[in-house]
């Protein structure tokens, strides 16, 4: 592990020095070089700001776009947004959709009958 770090540091130092010193090399003219005309301000902005930004936006969209297209999913701690769902509930409609979940006033004797049952509760 330590050896790998050492090798990586040595390998990285050479290109790093070359990159950092390249503006200095550019300041002195050499025989035979041909710099050509400089970039105008709009061109510079286009090449170094607009195009990189467009590429970043493209990657960003490719990563996040899929989750935008999907329906919201449950995340613990956030409020619940969806309509109640009752699978295998009473009188499921003919088309298989959730039955109307009108706030039913359960008769007291039914609640009493259930006291012989059991169950469990949990929080998360």
């Amino acid at each position: 592990m330590r050896k790998a770090i050492r090798i990586a540091a040595v390998t990285a130092s050479v290109p790093l020095v070359a990159v950092l010193s390249s503006p200095v090399l550019a300041a002195t003219r050499d025989d035979g070089d041909n710099p050509g005309p400089g970039l105008t301000v709009p061109e510079t902005l286009l090449y170094f700001v607009v195009i990189p930004a467009a590429i970043i936006a493209l990657v960003w969209l490719a990563v996040l776009g899929t989750s935008w297209a999907r329906a919201p999913r449950y995340r613990p701690g956030l409020s619940w947004w969806a309509d109640p769902v009752w699978i295998n509930g009473p009188e499921t409609d003919a088309d298989g959709s959730t039955p109307s979940l009108a706030a039913a006033a359960a008769p007291a004797d039914l609640a009493l009958a259930d006291s012989t049952g059991g169950g469990a509760r949990a929080r998360w």
Binding site: G89, L110, G117, G118, G119
Partner: protein, 131 residues
């Protein structure tokens, strides 16, 4: 958050299948409710269980309140014979473990599996009356 469906079509069919398998394995009725349960979650869960009508005695209701992060399991009188409170507690743990990770449908399906494993019993044809 915009109003919408709690589960995708795929998740819904998976849940329905898990309920059907649990019922075939145990001869009991299973029902899954996902929605708000209000302040008194136990009372609301009992109310929903009573709404199952004639099958309520042999029915087990799994009521999940994702917003309030509450889970209630209600067993009827007949269902309790095969699915005691200890087994329900185990099922509740297996469900909430996955709810914590944000997987509602997966947790419910796993919980159904746990519950049906505990409730499995030999059929007594003169006595069992699955819905």
């Amino acid at each position: 958050m915009p109003a919408g469906e709690a589960f995708s079509d795929r998740q819904r069919s998976d849940l329905a299948r898990a309920v059907r398998i649990a019922e075939n394995d145990t001869g009991l009725t299973f029902s899954v409710y996902v929605g708000t349960l209000g302040d008194d979650t136990r009372a609301r869960a009992l109310e929903l269980h009573a709404q199952l009508g004639a099958s309520a005695s042999a029915a087990t209701l799994i009521a999940v309140d994702p917003g309030g992060r509450q889970l209630e399991i209600v067993t009827g009188h007949e269902a309790k014979r095969w699915l005691d409170d200890y087994a329900c507690g185990l099922g509740a743990i297996s469900m909430t473990t996955q709810f914590t990770a944000g997987d509602l449908s997966g947790g419910i399906i796993n919980g159904l599996r746990t519950l049906s494993e505990h409730a499995r019993h030999p059929r007594t044809l003169h006595n069992d009356e699955p819905a």
